[in-house]
């Protein structure tokens, strides 16, 4: 959020930027690996990612830079790692923000989705761990959720790869529609 970085109205970046955010231990790093084919340490263990990992991916012919962020609980940071994630979101004008949540704990995680939307970020909500949720007989009406939030909602189980293709195609849609989501003309 430095002053030197002013915000150009229409920005032509040849490489689109896709940022993965979410609470700790929801599967951001797994998704990162799936999208980029690069390996970052993944663990069933919150807080393993403490730095932003950057990787390349080609989505629908478009070159993308994918950024994996440390886990954050809210946009109001407490720990150093949360600060890192937020700074990235607010400064670097991502083209797509994928909010990865644990479907089983949706009610606790939606508040962050709302906060991201409030910041005007182009959010896609990815409901990860649907397999575990289903095992608990938890049913999520993701169509209704998408309607309520006004954004795409994708049920997924990243560990087995479910949902990744759908995410790719939606990210592609976002990128190719080429709009500037971030700053709707000020009224």
């Amino acid at each position: 959020m430095s002053d030197s970085q002013s915000a150009p109205k229409s920005r032509q970046r040849s490489v689109a930027r896709v940022v993965l955010v979410g609470n700790p231990n929801v599967g951001k790093s797994v998704l990162f690996n799936r999208l980029t084919g690069r390996y970052v340490t993944v663990s069933n263990y919150p807080g393993t990612t403490v730095e932003i990992a950057r990787g390349q991916a080609v989505i629908g012919g478009q070159n993308c830079e994918v950024l994996d962020t440390p886990g954050m609980y809210s946009l109001t940071p407490i720990t150093e790692e949360e600060r890192v994630a937020r700074a990235l979101l607010l400064r670097e004008r991502p083209d797509v923000v994928v909010h990865v949540v644990d479907a089983k704990n949706l009610n606790r995680m939606l508040a962050l989705t709302l906060q991201l939307l409030e910041a005007g970020l182009p959010v896609i909500l990815l409901l990860n761990m649907m397999d575990e949720a289903e095992r608990l007989h938890l049913h999520i009406d993701h169509h209704a959720l998408a309607k309520k939030l006004g954004i795409p909602v994708i049920p997924a189980s990243l560990i087995s790869g479910r949902g990744v293709e759908e995410l790719r195609s939606i990210v592609n849609e976002y990128l190719s529609s080429g709009q500037d989501y971030h700053l709707p003309a000020p009224d």
């Binding site: 069933n44 790692e81 089983k104 009610n107 005007g120 970020l121 575990e132």
Partner: protein, 489 residues
Amino acid sequence: MSTNTFPADRIITYPPPIEEAVQHIESLLSAEYTVHRRAIALLLLQHDEEIEGMVRRREGEERFARIAEQIREAQLHFQQPLAVVLLAHRQRVAQEIAREVLHTPSRSGSSFAEWLGRVCMQPLTGIPILLLVLYYGLYQFVGVFGGGTLVDLLENRLFGEVINPFLSHWVKALVPFMPIQELLIGEYGIFTLGITYAVALILPIVGTFFLMFSILEDSGYFPRLAMLIDRLFKKIGLNGRAVIPMVLGFGCDTMATMVTRILETPRERLIATFLLALAIPCSAQLGVIMALLASHPGALAIWAGTLVSVFLLIGWLTARVLPGTPATFHIEIPPMRLPILSNVLIKTYARMHWYFREVFPLFIVASVLIWLGQITGLFDLALRALAPAMLLLGLPDDAASAFLFGFFRRDYGAAGLYHLQENGVLSGRQLLVSAITLTLFLPCVAQFLMMKKERGLKTALAMSAIIFPFAIAVGAVMNWILQTIGVNL
């Protein structure tokens, strides 16, 4: 706008006084921002310091004062701080949405995984489970199988009887020059020491360790361990969250030092960094020491007991010395699950790959350095300089070379000890004392660099200046105690 519209900037409507303030603040913001003005206004209402600083710089003092006035006015309508009001409101909206789209079943009987997850966290059942994990996972699998069976197979059979004799024969035949022969196949040669250590000793040990570590990690056991140990950790000024870097430290202290960032206060980060450098043995070291002491279970128990005591004592002391209050504990507990084979294998592979890439060149460089040292006489000089310390620790002069290796990397030093033990040079007591001393040393050059990066050069140097004499002192004291009470190991 096409399919992707974001009505989102108005997804939550806050209570009227807040909405009014937001509108006023929005109209006062004149600079360009990368996010919605509404978002900036809301963050300002929550007293976000970073945003306040930015807005103050961009809008100027006069405008900022008018914004601040709006915030003060809004606050008058509420008893709680605005940050709390906003948070609560947002959470209420989130809950409402969740309720509408979620269909939860009536809670049925809990599954086996849930039950297992619970008993891992309760002291009465959790501690026996921890001991089982340590005994079978660490001692039997890594120490006895990895460090015993596999190492024997690779080092003695493959390298000792096949590869090294073969190389030695050909090097002697092809290179008539004695010093070069020494460099390649001598006592500390690139092949006979560097590559043999790396492939025949470290590889099987680290491999089995990482495999076990990945299985436990993927199962979701570690966060439960964190819950279990939380109470104990509070006593030493850390909370359960600090278990994460500590446990990772058993994999690699360098990586774990970086992960201390997840701790909330600088005080906790400092304590954790210090404890990692001092008392947490990394995988390579742990494995070699397991292998080293597996034949002396008594020594292994004393080694573990000493390290735990040092860890607790130093942690407790550091917490006394450093002012500050312990942070609160908050950790997500993921579900227990059966580890997924592909996950475990990828993780093990990635860790080994990374470890090997770091360690392999270093072992070769060490061989070359020692060779240079021998030619120039510096090596003997250094060994002689260490002689008093060896005397203090009750160790034979030969052990000095292992300690010298230990300055490069603790595991390298431990591997040196392993070698001595195989040759029957060390008694049980001597093994134990050297294992304790080496474990307390700083793990490796890489960790020092990471400490410098995370905590600053002064702190890193200060910690090292404490650690080295302390390690030798503990070793000397242990030696004295064992000798005095005449323990035979």
